[in-house]
């Protein structure tokens, strides 16, 4: 499937081809720790068990902010 990924921490958007199915697989694929990110799919907050669909727009929001 094809996904559009916005990473808040980096302020960047990328398009990727993804062979997995769940949000947790995506985070694993991107080597991101789920403890450090909230995931929003098509403007809805989702859990790590959520199954992604082709053409989904995914936002990765950083849990860690401030200093």
């Amino acid at each position: 499937m094809h996904l559009e990924i916005f990473n808040e921490r980096e302020g960047s958007t990328i398009l990727i081809e993804f062979a997995g199915s769940k949000v947790k697989d995506l985070l694993d694929h991107l080597k991101l720790n789920p403890e450090a990110f909230l995931v929003v799919r098509n403007n809805e907050v989702v859990t790590e068990e959520e199954i992604l669909q082709d053409q989904d727009k995914v936002e990765l929001l950083s849990v860690i902010s401030g200093g």
Partner: protein, 311 residues
């Protein structure tokens, strides 16, 4: 995935089940209010000063403190917000914009004090000078000056408590940092109420978000639509804390409940630690320069200030 309590879609997974938006908000607020009650963090007739930055933690604790007061019919005009502008380029000015707007919307008076006005230089300009003679990172300078200004101005405002947005992650990190560095004196000052001894010169600092994970706080702020622009202190990655934070997040991912376990174990040991520290506490005196609390003739904040002035 569905909520464990209703047919709505879940937004958060806990160890014992999933929660939808509304049930997560209830769960989160309940946890904060229970913490306030259990540790008696807020008195009925005292002025409260919330230490704010404009980030998710401080806006959440400010919002929920106000909600707690309203829920318990405590006059909200006792609530004040106090921010410290450290003078970090491209960072603090952004969060202060959100903060001013938030305080205006929620009708909480806001006072902003700055390192530059109070101590002579911004953090950006001060720490390279202070670091010339001592191996101090910006975080050490920042920590000393922030605590100094918060205490000084909260006292000036007549506050009985300073409320901070420290969360479970902050506390677990601080516990491990002190453990790794064998700093039992600093460890004894942790807990939902900071400090080992009460003194007229010190305003107690209390932490209503003590049992809320950082991820939960971020989600709460998001679900409540608090306007928060993502910002990260440019110095945060230089600190020891950053390495501990990454380590604990890795552990939490592999072994759920690690951070909670660290904090719970620490709370069981804290009374023993505090009793031990009370035996060797230095006498609190007034700094000969600024008249604020100090355990030496000149307090750390003034020592740093004089280092800058002498250049």
């Amino acid at each position: 995935m569905r909520c464990n309590k209703c047919p709505q879609k879940s937004v958060f997974s806990l160890q014992h089940g999933d929660l939808c938006r509304n049930h997560f908000i209830d769960y989160f607020e309940d946890k904060v209010f229970k913490t306030i009650n259990k540790f008696q963090l807020i008195g009925r007739n005292e002025k409260l000063c919330v230490a704010v930055s404009g980030g998710k933690d401080s806006l959440t604790v400010l919002y929920l403190t106000k909600k707690y007061l309203e829920k318990n019919s405590i006059p909200a005009n006792n609530l004040l917000a106090l921010a410290v502008d450290e003078g970090i380029d491209q960072y603090r000015e952004k969060t202060l914009v959100d903060l001013r707007k938030f305080c205006q919307e929620h009708n909480v008076p806001l006072t902003i004090v700055s390192f530059e006005q109070e101590l002579g230089k911004t953090l950006d300009k001060a720490y390279p000078i202070i670091n010339q003679d001592a191996n101090k990172k910006p975080c050490n300078v920042c920590g000393v000056w922030r605590r100094y200004l918060l205490n000084k101005h909260a006292k000036k405002m007549g506050a009985g408590k300073v409320i901070t947005g420290h969360n479970l992650d902050d506390e677990a990190q601080a516990i491990m940092m002190n453990m790794f560095k064998a700093n039992t004196t600093l460890a004894a000052r942790l807990g939902p109420i900071s400090g080992v001894q009460e003194h007229d010169l010190f305003i107690q600092r209390v932490k209503p978000l003590y049992f809320c994970a950082e991820k939960e706080v971020r989600l709460y702020a998001l679900l409540k639509h608090f306007q928060i622009e993502f910002t990260e202190c440019p110095y945060s990655k230089e600190g020891y804390r950053h390495h501990i934070q990454e380590m604990l997040n890795d552990f939490e991912h592999k072994y759920k409940g690690t951070k909670q376990g660290i904090v719970n174990s620490f709370l069981a040991m804290l009374p023993l630690l505090q009793n031990q520290e009370k035996l060797s506490l230095p006498t609190i005196q007034q700094c000969s320069r600024c008249r604020e609390a100090s355990n030496k003739d000149i307090c750390n904040a003034c020592v740093m200030k004089e280092t800058i002035q002498n250049v």
